[in-house]
Symmetry: C4
Subunit: 308 residues, 4 copies
Amino acid sequence: MASSENNSPDPKKPPVLTGSGSDHPRGSRFRQRLHEIIFEADDFAGALFDVLLLVAIVASIVVVCLDTVPNVGRTADPKVDGPYHGLLSVLSWGFTIFFTLEYLLRMYCVRRPLKYAFSFWGIIDLMSFLPDYLLGFGGIFTRGSFTVIRSLRLLRVFRIFKLGWFQHEAEELGDAVWRSRAKITVFITVVLILVTVAGTLMYEIETWQAADTSQFESIPDGIYWAIVTMTTVGYGDIVPTSAPGKILSAILILIGYSLIIVPTGFVSAEILGQKSTTKTSTRSCPSCISEGHDTDAIFCKHCGERME
Amino acid sequence: MASSENNSPDPKKPPVLTGSGSDHPRGSRFRQRLHEIIFEADDFAGALFDVLLLVAIVASIVVVCLDTVPNVGRTADPKVDGPYHGLLSVLSWGFTIFFTLEYLLRMYCVRRPLKYAFSFWGIIDLMSFLPDYLLGFGGIFTRGSFTVIRSLRLLRVFRIFKLGWFQHEAEELGDAVWRSRAKITVFITVVLILVTVAGTLMYEIETWQAADTSQFESIPDGIYWAIVTMTTVGYGDIVPTSAPGKILSAILILIGYSLIIVPTGFVSAEILGQKSTTKTSTRSCPSCISEGHDTDAIFCKHCGERME
Amino acid sequence: MASSENNSPDPKKPPVLTGSGSDHPRGSRFRQRLHEIIFEADDFAGALFDVLLLVAIVASIVVVCLDTVPNVGRTADPKVDGPYHGLLSVLSWGFTIFFTLEYLLRMYCVRRPLKYAFSFWGIIDLMSFLPDYLLGFGGIFTRGSFTVIRSLRLLRVFRIFKLGWFQHEAEELGDAVWRSRAKITVFITVVLILVTVAGTLMYEIETWQAADTSQFESIPDGIYWAIVTMTTVGYGDIVPTSAPGKILSAILILIGYSLIIVPTGFVSAEILGQKSTTKTSTRSCPSCISEGHDTDAIFCKHCGERME
Amino acid sequence: MASSENNSPDPKKPPVLTGSGSDHPRGSRFRQRLHEIIFEADDFAGALFDVLLLVAIVASIVVVCLDTVPNVGRTADPKVDGPYHGLLSVLSWGFTIFFTLEYLLRMYCVRRPLKYAFSFWGIIDLMSFLPDYLLGFGGIFTRGSFTVIRSLRLLRVFRIFKLGWFQHEAEELGDAVWRSRAKITVFITVVLILVTVAGTLMYEIETWQAADTSQFESIPDGIYWAIVTMTTVGYGDIVPTSAPGKILSAILILIGYSLIIVPTGFVSAEILGQKSTTKTSTRSCPSCISEGHDTDAIFCKHCGERME
């Protein structure tokens, strides 16, 4: 994340760069200062800009949300606007223009605008205002639902917390999930197979045993029910009505209850392993080429050779 | 908590203090004894007072609760009182007077009443009876809902368990949560962003695919549904009715099911880390180069050499 | 558990006891053999008896359950019995007589019948048939609900698994829960206080904001809703209908979602701690009386004295 | 799993086997190549075959599912087919023929066809097309529900991931569950007993306290409710309506909430124990008495002395 945004010309030598503009022709003192404010959060102006941007993002999402609430931004009749629709539209266009300006400023102050434009954050920034213009001149989503992409911009909140420890925690969290990906994939595959079998069985049982009252209209309905059940969500919109259906339901619930504990244990183990295994190094014995030595090993544990 | 209440004059030297009243002019033998009974739970009288207060708190909450039950404290007609409303009102006022007296006694026996009055516990104590008087002479909440603040006084229950190990456990629990705060914040932020995106998507999909049967009236409704779904609560008051909506629902459920395991692992790891990392150091004996010494070790446990 | 049932006369010296009946006048070869079969599961006859008893317990529970199913043991009209009520009644009385005989046999073959009669298992055994006789001659529970106590007898199932490792696991599981009791108590107290505050707030908010549609009839209703919500059960029988109510609901759900992870971590830590902390001993240095030495310590880590 | 499928003649010596067909009379170069493609996934052709088979399995399941969706494969009137029923039937028979051919090819190229036919995977392979033929000529399940067995074939997906680490993870996951089986059995037994007692109590309480509104028609209904409640699924199709029923419900929920944490901790502990206890021993160096040596250490890692 950090590296993809760090488009400032050679951040390691800022004194030289600010002194002369020769090695980056498009650079200027103003542009560099702007870059620091917009892309970094180390000084007061940069942190303030990030907080203001965050407030604007949250406020723009609130405006979009309110515009869909009956008797606020809309009415039961789709042809009649709600009492606050006018105000909310003005605010919404205000935020759209603000985000457009912010995007243009970013394009102006980064050294390689194209690299930024096609980076992950650049595309998200663009998507936060572009749909509004497209929709402003008519579109399938009349209430501007594409503005929801602005919520992705909330991920920028993490940039504020460049205090070291917070960022470190986020990376540690992501690492633990990433290293558990094999087990999580195996687990999700098992769950999906179980859910397919249970959903189909349930559809057949309910259609057979409770033809009149069955709420299972198709096998996909059954699979949806099985997912909702096995993960202990349990909406209750589709429930078995026959006795065999209820027994199958109880069995699936108990299996789900027993299964949910497995990946939890694995992530716990990964996180703990991460902490405790820092001592084991990737050192190799110069004499017998064996591996798995501790970082504090002075002699090879296999051949007794000094390791250094 | 403990220190903010410890207003007794210099608890380190009780023999001198009880002997003379010169260095704390407002102190008296009676007041000191009262302070011990009300604020401490070390001897029988203090423990008895705390248990009595706890019983009064629970009983007063039960009274307030019962007063809102139809055909007990109220009837379907808001103008007609329930059969037990009179009795419950008398009991309620009894508790209010009891808590007022207790508050006044606390103010009397602490050395610095103002410090107590503006402390966390002082404000809670005040709020446990003040609203009753304000509401007694007419107010917006006719059924005395502010008395719910009394339930906050239940937090005092922890004071009874000054037996050492129980308090220690509570602190350890709080510590583990506190040290995981960064990861929990990151986690909750990710959940909130996911929930905003999923809720908006669901509103648009349902409005588009199932315009007549859609239960999603607005984007906030969608976000509420997404929170209820992703945390596996699953009320079922708002559920998708279209096929694409059900597919999105199933995906969100599986993501939520996979995500819930992450912070669990982190708190487990924190608690375990707390236990294992407090004592063992990475020190090595200068004589026999053995490791695994405790941080408080002065001599090597293997060869008896001084460790420095 | 095991010791309370071990009423056989001095199990350490069985050869002497079977040889003479002088030191336990009521003992006989037959009675001893019966005791082995009924109370133990070490040989084939004992294991067979336990399996038969387990089957009888499960079957008797199934019979009681079926007797309450409409159109099986009863009909919609309480005065008309179901088609299988006669058969189920006969089976039910058969199990009652079987359990009575088993109880009498137990009383006969234990050395101290009174001690058995007032032990935990003795009372459960008695309660598994006594209510049937009381109810057989008229009672308040016409459908024999007290026979549910038979399900407590299912706890006997653990007796079958006297294979060592299974019993050990059960004890380890119980130990981990027991040692976490302080933290679980603190946790449940915090949950109960949160639930009381949230339930009352919800009742007031819903009564105020959605007087006509509110499903919260009283504060206890609110507390019930808060428990159902915070534990992620989420029936959906009582749900907020006003916007502020939904916001409060979402906040409570997220708090519950964050809180559930805490005790999980503690039990994990307890179980792991149990395994890893076996190395720290209670040894005390003979020279400086300091504690906390490792089991492998040769010299005191505080004063350098040899420890032995 | 892997060994039951490995029917190739002596996989340890492939060069000799391909050279002569004398010691496996039914073997041929073509048949061996076919065996490699069908049963293994090490080279490109083998991996391609597995991916194609996986796509066919998933597609055939989707076809069966779609055939049950109203207005796609069927209509509300069971005598009238849906608009796409013809197309879906053709596709379904296509997959059936494909799976038949695949089965015959497997029978042809394995050395011991009978061993394969009666192995776990052989039976699943057979069941993936046999019911279609049986049902094609009339049967009780008119919509081909037995084709759901095809979903069991999805378990073959794991064969693709023979990349070493993925298979290892799956085995580790299965091992952790397997080694926790005793604790999980104890736990499920406790849950089942609790659920039986709570369900019966609830049925009696609701029948007694809320005879008119009770949703508990029988004790099995009560047990079903208790399972749904205690595992935090919470459908809401059956809920208590009386005050004592709601109190019992709240207690059962809190017990379930406290219980769910126990097996989680045990699986975590098992996984962690597996990782940490495999390598570190309690061995001590005879020369420098240092500890923390790995079980496979031959020389002391601290002083280089032979350890023996």
